[in-house]
């Protein structure tokens, strides 16, 4: 086995305790929530007896350790439980809603990287210039404008005033039929189906929420790019490269940018995980059927299974993300050895 492959496996093994921890904590925390799901489920007109009946049928009358064991046993079979709120199996809900959130977040991140990184690099190359000022304004605006505000503003301008954007109601206008589910990403699924009309329609739905989220994630990425590039450009090896007559392009992109990538990737990872959880507001404003709004709704009604499912799905996502970032590090920077651990 190659050392790198072994290192990756080792990292995966190291993630197991994290996942176990998350299972335990999410279980305990949801039980600690105020509110009784049996009462909610039984409805307003239910009497004591029917509530007790429902409690028994949900297994909530058993002691906590037994409930936990039951929960773990179900999990091992891939059963996340039944959502009280939606009436569907949680696994199915997640499978429907997670791609929506991922599609939104990823599009927003690609968009903000495409803007923030070039601006950060240019700003670092010419401190005090017009681009640098623009960078500063963008960063300040991105940090200080809350997403629900920019979201509503964008809707007001592009939907209400200009009529360019479709109504902000979900992933696809009701005129269109959802593409066959392959990846769950409408843009990709529509492409696979070769249905350009649907592709375009879902892009139109996606663009405003993605811009809203991108404006928000732009700030940390642009700021980190600028700072990392500034410090890379002022390091000794850049002077050596310049003194050896390497072209400006090679020095900036081949030498400085690659060295600046490490902090940028770190920030990117943080922003990604952060915005996956924090895009609830955007999802609410645009009626986006994502995982964030799902979790909030489930939380409000003490929907144990749904909340646990959400927390677990997020934890797995974070673990994967961290692994990917770590691996990216080792590709970029040879000094970060995996084998030392």
């Amino acid at each position: 086995m190659s050392p790198r492959l072994r290192a990756i496996l080792l990292r995966l093994v190291q993630a197991i305790p994290v996942v176990i921890g998350v299972v335990v904590i999410s279980f305990v925390l949801t039980r600690a929530l105020p509110g009784d799901p049996a009462v909610y489920f039984a409805g307003a007109a239910a009497d004591e007896e029917s509530i007790a009946q429902i409690r028994t049928s949900m297994g909530l009358d058993k002691p906590l350790p037994i409930q936990f064991l039951q929960y773990v046993a179900d999990l091992l079979q891939g059963d996340f439980g039944q959502s009280v709120y939606s009436g569907q199996p949680v696994a199915e809900d997640l499978a429907n809603r997670l791609p929506a959130s991922l599609e939104l977040t990823l599009t927003a991140l690609i968009l903000s990287c495409a803007i923030a990184i070039p601006i950060g690099v240019l700003a670092a190359k010419n401190p005090g210039s017009f681009v640098d000022q623009l960078c500063r304004i963008l960063v300040t605006a991105g940090v200080s404008l809350p997403t629900f505000f920019t979201g509503i503003l964008l809707i007001y301008v592009f939907y209400y005033l200009l009529g360019l954007a479709p109504s902000p109601l979900g992933r696809l206008d009701f005129l269109y039929i959802e593409p066959d589910n392959v990846t769950g990403f409408y843009l990709i699924d529509a492409l696979i189906a070769g249905d350009w009309e649907t592709w375009f329609a879902s892009l139109k739905q996606l663009i405003l929420p993605a811009i809203t989220l991108a404006l928000f994630t732009l700030a940390p990425i642009a700021r980190m790019t600028r700072a990392a590039m500034l410090s890379a450009l002022s390091s000794d090896f850049i002077r050596t490269a310049r003194a050896a007559g390497l072209s400006d392009h090679k020095v900036t992109y081949g030498y400085a940018f690659r060295n600046a990538l490490l902090p940028i990737i770190t920030t990117l990872g943080m922003v990604f995980s952060f915005s996956l959880g924090a895009n609830v507001l955007v999802e609410k404003v645009f009626a986006w059927p994502g995982i964030g709004s799902y979790a909030v709704e489930a939380l409000v009604v003490s929907d144990y299974a749904a909340v646990q499912g959400f927390v677990l799905a997020m934890a797995l996502l974070f673990v994967t993300l961290n692994l990917v970032i770590d691996l990216t590090y080792s590709v970029i920077d040879p000094r970060i050895g995996f084998d030392t651990k």
Partner: protein, 543 residues
Amino acid sequence: MLSIKDLNVSFNTRRGRVDAVCGVSLEVAKGQILGIVGESGSGKSVTSYALMRILDRGGIIRQGEIIYSGIDLRNASEQQMTEIRGREISMIFQNPRAALNPIRKVGHQLEDVLRQHAQATRYTAKEKAIEALEAVKIRDAAERYDAYPFELSGGMCQRVVIAIALACNPRLLIADEPTTGLDITTQKAVMDLVLELIRDREMSAILITHDLGLATEYCDQISVMKNGEVVEKGTPQKIFSSPEHPYTQKLVKATPSKGSSIRDLLPDGGNLPLAPRQISEFPLLAVQDLKKTYKGKSGPIDAVNGVSFKIFEGQTVGLVGESGCGKSTTSSMLVRLLDSSSGRILFNGDDLTEISAKAFAKDPRRTDIQMVFQDATDSLNPRFTARQSIADPLKQLVKLRGSALNSRIEELADLVGLPIHLLDRFPHQLSGGQKARVGIAKAISVNPKFLILDEPTAALDVSIQAIVLNLLADLRAKLGMSFLFVSHDLQVVRLLSDYVIVMRDGEIVEQGPTEIVMGQPSSDYTRTLLSTVPKPPSGLTAA
């Protein structure tokens, strides 16, 4: 070949314009090696950056003319400059490890340069890069091609930097402090290599250094710079034997050389005789078979392997060796910041190894053993004023408070020659010499019997080093302290020490009275160390 006339360079900073170079004129003839000597801030590096047009942001050539082989470098286009850099004029830098791209294989970095200047195609690049590595005498060049800078030693990195600089056969090489940060034996090897390559290829060179001894040994002509101006030019012989400018005289005096005594380093030194000292028969510190073993990746590493020596009351012992020889580990164990693996440290007859390094902070003998650290800047808390820094050990160890504390701090400032009004400044507002004084005041504040000096002058300019060394000599006479003086610089150790210990690979190679170890060394290693010290031109001694 290169002529610089009346060069003026200034930097636009937030606090206004700073003139770094004022009216410098230099000439380098074909095949000549010009030395530019000066202390930090003299503008010697800025001059070379200006001629390469790689000044940092905000740096502007205000005035003057730089002509290289008929090309006006000041007004050349950026495109032309890219062709000249590396191809006609190239540079090597201090701190070679930082001078290489940390995440790119050294072979690829070489290829970048070769291909930039069309010296190789994609197909021949690797072969040519390996050739270039072989030219700087790197063993197993083909294997080193795939190495990253962090996998190479400092000397090896400097060889790679030289290989990059010389890959395209430039005609002028600028070496900016090429040996700073390297071990002495490596320094010698690197300088000899550079000299040999320059002679073989009939190149010209500019050697920028703070070390007058190094410049006199390797250069044909020397220009001495101070505050952005050239104060004196001449052959090494002339500069060394009959310096005309007062600054050059001061510099020549401050450079420790074979026959000089510690007072000779000062401009008006001879007038102040050294106070007599008493070295008692009583061993203050006895180290017996001291060992420190670290767990390494491939088995245990003996950082210090069975070291034994004695330091008598009032005596100064010099500890010499190259990086990695265990001298810092030894001093850390003696000052009780590090636990030893085995062996005994007898201080006044008590075994200190019985108390763990952690517990020693509360031991009453903590005040008896103190340390002056290498980098005066990094070892001071940046958020503490000089007064707070000096007060810190007094408050912690002697529980001094109020007016007693203040009068003690002022007494100490007076003792180390730090003006009282500087006491309320922060480290960044103090000069290197002043910071060194704060570090010394801090260490002697609690009246230690034994002081460990870990390269106390390594980061200082020679003229400041001269003053600090004399200060230390006066202090030990006045306060009757014993010193352990740790350094890689043999000349400096010789000036201050009564007894010298030479370490290598965790073991003592040789120890004895200074005159004997320095005069008639018994081990080959000591002889090698002594032979690597740059010497002024033969038959000359400092004026």
